[in-house]
């Protein structure tokens, strides 16, 4: 069974600085997707970034980028130029690529990292 581990329950960063959130996963599959979701105090789950396992290039979305190390099964999120609005719980998630009926499209989440941004 696939598992996702986030070993940093809480982190803190100064405004305008860079922070990296860690995520590791375990799978025997070679093709899958990885995601980072942000959950601010409003409780809404917001998709931040995704990475396809077959792509070697790391995904980037504005100030958010990932460091995807497939052999090490590591998927860290880097937030550059941190802003007060980045303060939130961040979840790493894993999904297999199969579509159709049955056990497909399910997300497996880590336990989350609570990020505080200091002014």
């Amino acid at each position: 069974a696939q598992t996702v581990t986030q070993s940093q329950p809480e982190m803190s960063v100064q405004e305008a600085e860079t922070v990296t959130l860690s995520c590791t996963y375990d799978t025997s599959e070679s093709d899958y997707y990885l995601f980072w979701y942000k959950q601010p105090p409003s409780r809404q789950m917001i998709l931040v970034i995704r990475q396809e396992a077959y792509k070697q290039q790391n995904a980037t979305e504005n100030r958010f980028s990932v460091n995807f190390q497939k052999a090490a099964k590591s998927f860290s999120l880097k937030i550059s130029d941190s802003q007060l609005g980045d303060a939130a719980m961040y979840f790493c998630a894993y999904r297999t690529p199969r579509v159709g009926g049955g056990a497909t499209n399910k997300l497996i989440f880590g336990t989350g990292t609570l990020l505080a941004v200091q002014p």
Binding site: V4, R95, V99, G102, N105, F109
Partner: protein, 114 residues
């Protein structure tokens, strides 16, 4: 905005009472999901649906049932609520984006069982 609403947004109920949570979507997505969120566990899948009347269990399905009689609505029922079912419940849909199905979430329902 994936057009997902959940009702109610907050509910307090007593142990042993039945509870139904509703997820409504406006964009005809085939796949819908119910998750629960608890401290120290992240989000865990309860049940999911891959079409009208097509549903299956997730990893924490005990004590829950679901129904999907039309595309836009996915109902989660706690037949006899227990205090261990106090949680925040999220509905999600899968939407095709490029070559990937990505999940988008509703605003959540906070359920307290006393």
């Amino acid at each position: 905005d994936a057009g997902i609403t959940q009702s109610p947004r907050h509910k307090v109920t007593e142990t042993g009472t039945p509870v139904t949570l509703r997820c409504h979507q406006t964009e005809n997505h085939r796949y819908m999901y119910w998750y629960r969120q608890d401290p120290g566990h992240g989000l865990r899948l309860i049940h999911y649906s891959y079409g009208v009347k097509d549903t299956d269990k997730g990893e924490v399905s005990d004590g829950y049932s679901v129904s999907r009689s039309k595309t836009e609505d996915f109902l989660l029922t706690l037949e006899s609520a227990t205090s261990s079912q106090t949680s925040v419940y999220f509905c999600a849909i899968s939407e095709m984006t490029g070559a990937s199905y990505e999940q988008y979430f509703g605003p959540g329902t906070r359920l307290t069982v006393t």
